[in-house]
């Protein structure tokens, strides 16, 4: 069987299925934001934005955008019934005080020790920008990373130790990629699920850190 890596939408779909009912969730820009589209309809999830919103809804219809209802990526969003608005320091007290149950984030690299690198490649040609990444990494109760398993030129993004500047140390709980669902544990990286048709040896070759296959592993349902 030929391995069938997940598309970006399928990564989002797989992660979205795991967001529990009642969770307060912050979604990073890009792939993590897509996950909201795939949370099962019978679950009530409250989305948080750094600029002071709880209860964000989907993008507005064209022509109904409000410049003062935006998400952290500055994109127009909507407010659901039950939404609340608060100032920035409270928004970050929710993050830094551990009140946000889950942050779904993108990453450039993840370490086997749970280190997260998602804000800088260390290239000094570009001015640095960090936004709320370090607050989310350090503060959210749970941190899930959604990303491609490898860079465009085939480099591993899951490493024993990150080589890029860290965003937060030892914070990642779970990694969803186009090839696998991996838990970061005190005993190292445990593969819970693999893309359909993928052999463990191939997954290990594409990963820069030692993996262990869970006894009860299964193929990712997409």
């Amino acid at each position: 069987m030929v391995a069938k890596p997940l598309s970006r939408d399928e990564i989002a779909r797989r992660a979205g299925r795991d967001i529990p009912d009642g969770a307060y969730v912050n979604l990073g820009i890009g792939l993590p934001t897509l996950a909201a589209n795939y949370v099962p309809a019978d679950r009530e999830v409250v989305y948080h934005s750094e600029n002071g919103i709880l209860g964000m809804g989907p993008a507005p219809k064209k022509g109904e955008e409000d410049p003062d209802i935006i998400n952290a990526g500055k994109q127009p969003v909507t407010l659901l019934a039950g939404a609340s608005i608060f100032h920035h320091t409270d928004a970050f007290a929710m993050i830094r005080g551990g009140h946000i149950d889950l942050a779904l984030l993108g990453a450039m690299q993840v370490g086997a020790n749970g280190d997260l690198a998602n804000w800088s490649t260390g290239d000094e040609k570009f001015p640095p920008a960090v936004g709320g990444a370090m607050d989310l990494g350090a503060g959210a109760a749970g941190v899930w990373v959604l990303m491609e398993h490898n860079t465009k030129d085939g480099q591993a993004k899951i490493l024993e130790r990150c080589t890029y500047p860290l965003t937060a140390a030892g914070v990642v709980d779970r990694i969803y990629t186009n090839l696998a669902v991996i838990d970061v544990t005190d005993d190292g990286l445990i593969v819970r699920e693999m893309a359909p048709g993928l052999e463990f040896d191939e997954l290990q070759r594409k990963t820069g850190a030692k993996l262990r296959l869970a006894n009860d592993w299964r193929a990712i349902e997409v």
Binding site: P67, D68, K74, H87, H88, T89, F92, A129, A138
Partner: protein, 229 residues
């Protein structure tokens, strides 16, 4: 009688000194006090440090402030964003100093200044290069970084409604940094879309109490950030 209203933008920004630290509300385009920024540029204070989440886009508001040559340093969490051309040019040319601060730490440092707290320990940035040179302490088994308060000489705020005591409300998520900055500066200057009578804002709906506000000017039709001002 307390009346914090002033009749013009130039009166609102009068007296800002060279070398001041100026806190500027807003996140992306939402909540940026565009008219107050233009007034401070015209007022002419130089060698300023500005504290604001983003470094502007296009050539208006915060970007125009940077391009004016009046700003020596920016304290910011996310200076590089779509359209931040002025900042990127100045940064590449070595003509602006950048202090990069995680967004929550930026906000909390200003809150600390406003609340009279001499700094705080936070796990944010622990183990990263943004903690380089800072005091660290292990609290309950977790490494924390010491962050100092960040005080403004001046804050520039955009509100939706204001009364003569300086009680404020904000429009939707344009609130963002404004309440924290209002309490963190010696001189808090507000542009409001409209003045209302004392008592017109229900007491439990006042978002920023007037004690944190010094001057208010009415700007009934503010330009949206990014538009030509």
């Amino acid at each position: 009688m307390i009346d914090k209203r002033v009749s013009s933008l130039s009166a609102a920004v009068a007296g800002i000194r060279d070398g001041s630290t100026v806190l500027i509300g807003g996140f992306g385009a939402s909540g940026i006090p565009v008219e107050l920024i233009d007034a401070v540029i015209a007022q002419g204070a130089k060698d300023l440090t500005i504290v604001t989440n983003n470094a502007g886009a296009g050539r208006t508001d915060v970007a125009k402030f940077l391009a004016s040559g009046h700003v020596r340093k920016i304290v910011c969490s996310f200076p590089r964003s779509a359209g931040s051309v002025v900042f990127e040019e100045l940064y590449a040319a070595g003509q602006i100093e950048l202090e990069l601060v995680p967004q929550g730490t930026l906000s909390e440092r200003m809150r600390a200044a406003g609340a009279g707290i001499g700094g705080f320990f936070t796990p944010t940035a622990a183990g990263t290069k943004l903690a380089d040179g800072k005091e660290t302490r292990t609290i309950d088994g977790r490494q924390h970084v010491f962050e100092k308060p960040l005080k403004g000489d001046v804050a520039l705020i955009k509100a939706e409604t204001a009364d003569r005591w300086g009680n404020l409300t904000f429009r939707l998520a344009a609130r963002n940094f404004a309440p924290t900055m209002a309490m963190a500066a010696d001189l808090t200057i507000v542009q409001t879309r409209r003045f209302v009578d004392l008592g017109a804002i229900a007491p439990e709906q006042v978002v920023t109490p007037g004690i944190f506000v010094d001057r208010i000017v009415e700007v009934p039709h503010p330009v949206e950030p990014g538009q030509t001002s």
